[in-house]
């Protein structure tokens, strides 16, 4: 009231300082950097206009990264949503086992991306790994997962799905909890079978969650880095070099700050698009519940 003029600013100052200095300022500064050439030896920078962007969009390597990221998204998002939805639906029918199974499915979520990747390095190991042994048991000659350019991206995707599955299940379970039982019962009385109940009763109520999980998964897939750094380091033959990996390499291995910043800005643009969609949906979701 009387002292209200300065007081709120005082309370907000730590947050504003940190977010301003480490989120807002760098986000803007990235755009400036992307318009510069920085000499890696003298550290002097020159205004370069859109040169970095021109180089980026004419680089076949970058376009390969774009397509790798796109395929990585397809490989991770679709299976992880299908599996997690099926599992959540199954869990939802049986409250007695739900808690126990949820704990099991959640455990990989608690494990960090890097640790998860390490486990899979081992599972994929052509000699000591269990995966190819299991495949051999059912008569399949497993590929050399991490060193075969045709399989490396799939291998990374499987490890990623393994880690993210529980995350999606949680959201679907929360969404399913919002389906009123009376509705399902009413549908059953009306003679609906399991599929019809799902299609006409559960799905409409679940659809905001479904869309939300979809968008979040897409954003996650575009931000993936840790598992790739540990599993394949972008290889073999660049077959797993997704957008963030390419950015990391250009910034911190090739020291091409301007060029890497241009990549960061483009990536930001892509993610922003999805994030805006996600926020819109998040609003609706809150509205629903």
């Amino acid at each position: 009231m009387r002292k209200a003029n300065l007081f709120p600013w005082l309370l907000l100052s730590p947050t504003l300082l940190v977010l301003g200095m480490f989120v807002i300022y760098p986000a803007i500064y990235s755009v400036c950097l992307s318009l510069q050439h920085v000499d890696p030896f003298t550290q002097r920078s020159f205004f370069a206009g859109f040169e970095n962007y021109t180089e980026l969009f004419t680089s076949s390597e970058y376009w390969e990264s774009v397509s790798t990221s796109f395929f990585f998204m397809l490989y991770t998002v679709i299976p992880s949503i299908v599996f997690s939805l099926l599992i959540a639906l199954a869990l939802d029918t049986n409250p007695f086992i739900r808690g126990f199974f949820r704990t099991l499915f959640m455990m990989p979520v608690a494990v960090s991306t890097a640790m998860a990747a390490m486990l899979w390095v081992f599972l994929y190991n052509p000699t000591a790994g269990y995966l190819n042994y299991l495949l051999a048991v059912i008569g399949i000659d497993g590929p050399n997962w991490l060193s075969d350019p045709h399989w490396a991206l799939v291998a990374v995707a499987i490890a990623t799905i393994w880690k993210e599955l529980g995350f999606n299940i949680i959201f679907f379970l929360a969404g399913l909890a919002g389906v009123p039982n009376e509705l399902r019962e009413a549908a059953t009385l009306d003679g609906a079978n399991a599929w019809q109940r799902f299609r006409h009763v559960v799905l409409p109520i679940l659809s905001p969650t479904l869309f939300f999980v979809g968008v979040v998964s897409v954003i996650h897939s575009f931000e993936s880095f840790g598992q790739i750094h540990i599993l394949t380091k972008g290889g073999p033959a660049g077959s797993t070099s997704v957008l963030v990996y390419s950015l990391y390499r250009d910034a911190f291995e090739n020291f091409r700050t301007g060029y890497a910043s241009a990549q960061a800005v483009v990536l930001f643009g892509i993610l922003l698009l999805f994030t805006v969609v996600q926020f819109r949906v998040a609003k609706k979701r809150v509205h629903y519940g």
Binding site: V23, I87, L104, S112, T113, M115, A128, W162, L267
Partner: protein
Amino acid sequence: MDDTVSLPGKRVGEMVGAIPTVSWSRILSNKRLWVTLFLLIPALAQIFPMVYMISMSFKEGVEVFSYPPTVMPKSLQLGNYQAALEAAPIGRFLFNSMVAALSITLLQIFTAILAAYALARIEFRGKRILFVLILGTMMVPGEITIIPNYLTLARWGWIDTYQALVVPFAASGFGVFLLYQFFRTVPKELEEAAIVDGASRLRFLFQIMVPLALPAIIAFGVYAFVSAWNQYLWPLVVTQSTDMQTAQIGLGMFRAENESNSWGVIMAATSMLIAPSLLLFLVTQRQFVRGITMSGLKG
């Protein structure tokens, strides 16, 4: 939550029928049984890598390469753990991770409480813009800030320090948003009563508001801790010496040197590095799930 049974019509009949005579056809036609069996497959797939990791960490020498691979080790050998501890400062990695994650969590909680209170409870000029600005930071991915932040910290000479791991994450737009929403639900009259009683705004905030918000704060804290603990790209960029590396980055040492370390040693190292986050998860499962559902942002 409502754990009411979803197939009520069928249940009663099944139970009545099941008590007097055990009928196999009845059991086999029990949908629940099949659903549970169906769930067992993905559930096993989810925990198998971790079980296998633990088993492998106890295997020594050639047993690692025994074919077919076995899940149960012949005996519990602790040699791998000893070797892993000798190969890398695993305790130090965990300590670094703990320092960084704990500091980030506490700082985020503290800064978010102050900011959320100002936004939720005080009217002042420019509030709307600040609110949008702070919320807007939730949309900025770490990838775009990493290069400028690295340059800033390099200029300050902070590379390879704890500050570098912590300070850029000392505030969280998400935390502010979450607590803002909670604080708004606390009746205004409670604060007025405290003011009439002679409490200052800060005393009201920390003595009455914060205890009320504790469940939300804890859920956010668990979420913030796990996120900080699992960070990869940033610590990779700002740590250089082995002594400053966090658990996630230190683990990479074993990956890089996998020729010289046996798989048993690597899995022993991974087990030790994974244990804290798994333990934290098992202890705080409810808050963890709540934190994630509230966030819906990042995993």
